[in-house]
């Protein structure tokens, strides 16, 4: 049914798009009319990407202000999807016209028979579609439903699963915990790994053996890491309390104290991932240009100075890569460790977002809510990665 709002939204969106792209087209001395038409189509159709499947439910009269705001957000995101490439193209055109663009005509390797390329891609593509894209898209459908695992009936609830998260104290707390634990894992993990890698890189007897031993923990599954730390930090028989006892510190309830348990999770996760980080840092250290370090040494720079002024900046591409992989690890892969170590407890203090999704979706069986949470988590990670690419890339030196 096409009511007032169903016409108004794409019309406004189209108008915005046509004005924007039209003005851009004029600036690059192309037909403004063409730009306006293209922009109008892109904006108008883009606004419908989310609104048509949702049937404009966020703008129904009985909806709350938060739903309307969420709907406006969805319209904007939908508009951005086709408008972005269009605007990016005009930007590039302008830079080209002004002679700003670094023209690097690259040779592209292409298959002579187009179908052969597709044929070779087909097996991978099939797997991706069946096991990744289809379930991924279905998550969006589920996120608009009130539906339970195993239950035959479900009901369309518009964006309630998303807006409900904003007032869900458990969820908001879990969000904070996730950022804190992830930040700690990335910072501690990377600085610790770099320190150990630097030590292991020193020309000492049996260096190769040390290096191999350092990389070993990576071969252990997160679940096994969870069990190892569970035993080590067991309040009664664990080695952690035994060591503390030797220096006269009384027993700590590592796993049932909400202030201590997150640290055990962080230690376990950092330890588990360290081998991987050390491997990359070792490779990076081996590839450092020796002449720079030598020159600095001749100029009288001390070991610390050389490390911070030369080694660290030169390793920045690896650090950048590791920050992203470690962050993804901290967001998604520590599930197994947490499940076996604390099961999200005590009192939710280690229930990170990915564990919260499991609790809601599997233990409580609320699929719709869990789907909404996983979409939010997905966008958080995508957003953080984009942010990192934008801010960090400038400070990264890719050799040269």
């Amino acid at each position: 049914m096409w009511g007032f709002i169903q016409v108004l939204v794409p019309l406004l969106a189209g108008l915005l798009g046509s004005l924007w792209v039209g003005s851009r087209f004029r600036r690059i001395e192309r037909s403004m009319l063409l730009g306006a038409v293209l922009g109008g189509l892109a904006g108008g159709l883009g606004s419908l990407i989310f609104m048509v499947p949702l049937d404009f439910c966020t703008f129904e009269p009985e909806r709350k202000a938060i739903d309307v705001a969420f709907g406006v957000g969805l319209v904007l995101v939908g508009m951005a999807i086709p408008l972005w490439p269009l605007l990016a193209w005009t930007q590039k055109e302008q830079e080209r016209r002004l002679g700003l663009q670094r023209a690097t005509p690259r040779e592209r390797g292409i298959f002579k028979q187009w179908w052969l390329a597709w044929l070779l891609l087909l097996p991978t593509f099939t797997i991706l579609v069946v096991f990744l894209y289809y379930p991924g898209l279905d998550t969006f459908r589920l996120s608009t439903l009130l539906t339970f695992v195993g239950a035959p009936r479900s009901r369309f609830v518009c964006v309630d699963n998303f807006t409900g998260l904003l007032t869900d104290a458990t969820y908001l707390r879990s969000l904070g915990i996730t950022f804190a634990i992830s930040a700690a894992i990335v910072v501690l993990g990377l600085s610790g790994s770099l320190l150990i890698a630097t030590l292991a890189y020193q020309p000492i007897r049996g260096a190769a053996i040390y290096r191999v031993l350092l990389i070993w923990p990576y071969a252990i599954s997160p679940a096994v890491a969870g069990i190892i730390f569970f035993i080590m930090f067991n309040p009664l028989g664990g080695v952690a309390n035994h060591l503390l006892g030797l220096v006269g510190i009384p027993r700590l309830n590592w796993l049932s104290d909400p202030n201590l348990a997150p640290w055990v999770v962080i230690f376990a996760s950092v330890w588990k991932q360290m081998g991987y980080n050390i491997l990359f840092y070792l490779a990076g250290l081996q590839n450092l240009p020796k002449d720079l370090l030598e020159a600095a040494a001749i100029d009288g720079a001390g070991a610390m100075r050389r490390f911070f002024a030369i080694t660290l900046p030169l390793l920045s591409p690896i650090t950048f890569f590791l920050v992203i992989t470690n962050m993804t690890y901290a967001f998604f892969d520590i599930f197994g460790t947490i499940d076996l170590l604390t099961a999200g407890g005590p009192s939710g203090s280690t229930s990170v977002l990915i564990y919260e999704i499991y609790k809601i979706g599997v233990s409580s069986g609320n699929l719709g809510r869990a789907a909404a949470q996983s979409i939010v988590l997905f966008f958080i990670v995508v957003g953080l990665t984009i942010l990192q690419f934008r801010t960090t890339e400038r400070n990264v030196t890719y050799g040269g």
């Binding site: 009130l146 009664l236 099961a343 407890g345 009192s347 609790k359 233990s363 409580s364």
Partner: protein, 456 residues
């Protein structure tokens, strides 16, 4: 060479394909002719341990006695898993005939519409294939739990009740003559035990699981939900903020704060409770009677003697009764006639006097027939194994009221999670029990309304 090779493979491929087609056609024909006899009855249960072996053994015995049926038993990891598997199987039209479904899922089973009530399947027959129906022989709390809208809906099978396990040596040392019967006695006993020079690490423990909370509600004759616990009509309100509920939270938290109750730090941690009582880490534990056999034997190996008594109750409110826990067997609807008959026959046979008694002896689950209790008594079983008598005694003396019949809630598993989370927060982080329960009630009512909105 290459051409030759590919010709060869193609020929081989064709031959294999032709062979496969022929073989499968033959298989289909064969299957068709077998389908006449015996009727296949697929039974799904949520056990993978010795209980599955027992059920499989019984199925074999049944198949010999009733050659017109072929019962096969398949095991699943837990109650949630079996629920999901059933849902999928029904959507894919590969449904089993009988499914074991946990007690708190009763309202769901009813709403999902997958099942046919036992009463409907029986009609007004008093026997099936020579096996008498005789529902009056089942003990009352069990029958009443699974009677919905006045109809006998699912076949009870594994029912249990929580009981107190006490370490006799520690109690004796503390000068406690008989295990505590009430909360107040338990607290006093703990005070004595923890004052011992060689006191155990904790006095008492039980899993932080909604079941224990529900038991204490029932004992106080307090409803968990409106409309007679959801039995007169669909429940729309829960009463987690009621006075008896707050009393439970206050006492439990108090026991923890005084260092008497040991919390493992994990919810639904049955294993920690079993471990603690078996190894003498705690003096007493409350857990399911279904583990009576395992716990008593494991403790014996550690030279620990355990005695079981009824679950302690709130002396301020008196004891009305305990409710059952466990699961029952549900008959899937729209089965072919002879399969349904087979399923019905098997369920009745599995619960006949001898089998129900044997099931109790193997596991510790309640003997759910009066005749089974009598049989066990006549054999002197309870005299030799007094620990096995407690749960039966507790359930058989329970007064059946709406509170002790147990609540029917669509969102029961989720509401249980709310209760366990609230208790964990109270113990780990502290807080006011009345406030915490009020908040829990709000959350539980929201979950209930959410579920009900799908099935009204």
């Amino acid at each position: 060479m290459r051409l030759h090779f590919s010709m060869n493979t193609r020929r081989t491929f064709l031959a294999v394909a032709a062979g496969l087609v022929a073989a499968s056609a033959a298989a289909f024909l064969a299957a068709d002719s077998f389908a006449q006899s015996p009727a296949e009855v697929k039974v799904w249960i949520a056990f993978t341990d010795n209980r599955l072996d027992w059920a499989r053994g019984k199925a074999e015995e049944f198949n010999k006695q009733f050659p017109q049926y072929k019962v096969t038993v398949e095991g699943y990891g837990n109650y949630e898993e079996i629920q999901q598997a059933t849902d999928l199987a029904i959507q894919q039209k590969a449904a089993p005939s009988v499914v074991q479904w946990f007690e708190v899922g009763t309202q769901r089973a009813r709403d999902f519409g997958y099942f046919k009530s036992i009463a409907d399947a029986l009609g007004n027959r008093t026997e099936v294939n020579g096996i008498p129906v005789n529902f009056d022989d089942f003990i009352e709390p069990v029958v009443s739990y699974y009677t919905l809208d006045g109809k006998f809906t699912s076949m009870p099978w594994n029912s249990s009740s929580p009981i107190l396990y006490s370490n006799t040596a520690i109690l004796k040392k503390a000068g406690i003559e008989k295990p505590p019967a009430t909360w107040q006695e338990l607290e006093a006993a703990c005070q004595k035990i923890m004052a011992l020079p060689d006191a155990p690490q904790g006095c008492v423990t039980w899993p932080n699981h909604g079941w224990f909370y529900e038991q204490w509600m029932a004992q106080q004759n307090a409803l968990l939900a409106n409309n007679d616990n959801g039995r007169a009509a669909r429940a729309t309100q829960v009463f987690l903020d009621s006075e008896p509920s707050i009393a439970i939270a206050t006492w439990w938290k108090g026991m923890h704060d005084k260092g008497y109750y040991i919390y493992s730090g994990k919810q639904r941690d049955w294993a920690a409770t079993e471990q603690a009582i078996q190894t003498g880490t705690v003096a007493m534990a409350i857990t399911s009677s279904a583990d009576a056999a395992n716990i008593t034997n494991a403790a014996k190996q550690n030279n620990i003697e355990l005695v079981t008594t009824r679950m302690p109750y709130n002396a301020d409110k008196g004891w009305t009764g305990n409710l059952i826990g466990g699961a029952s067997l549900w008959l899937v609807k729209d089965l072919p006639k002879e399969v349904e008959e087979g399923a019905l026959t098997f369920m009745l046979w599995l619960n006949n006097t001898e089998n129900a008694a044997e099931w109790h002896q193997v596991t510790g689950y309640l003997p759910i027939r009066k005749s089974s209790v009598a049989l066990l008594e006549s054999k002197g079983w309870f005299k030799e194994n007094p620990n096995f008598f407690t749960a039966s005694d507790q359930i058989n003396n329970s007064k059946v009221t709406p509170a002790t019949r147990g609540a029917l809630l669509g969102a029961f598993p989720e509401i249980r999670n709310v209760v366990t989370q609230t208790m964990e927060d109270l113990m780990v982080k502290g807080g006011d029990p009345a406030q915490a329960m009020a908040k829990a009630n709000e959350e539980a009512n929201r979950l209930l309304a959410e579920y009900n909105s799908l099935y009204q």
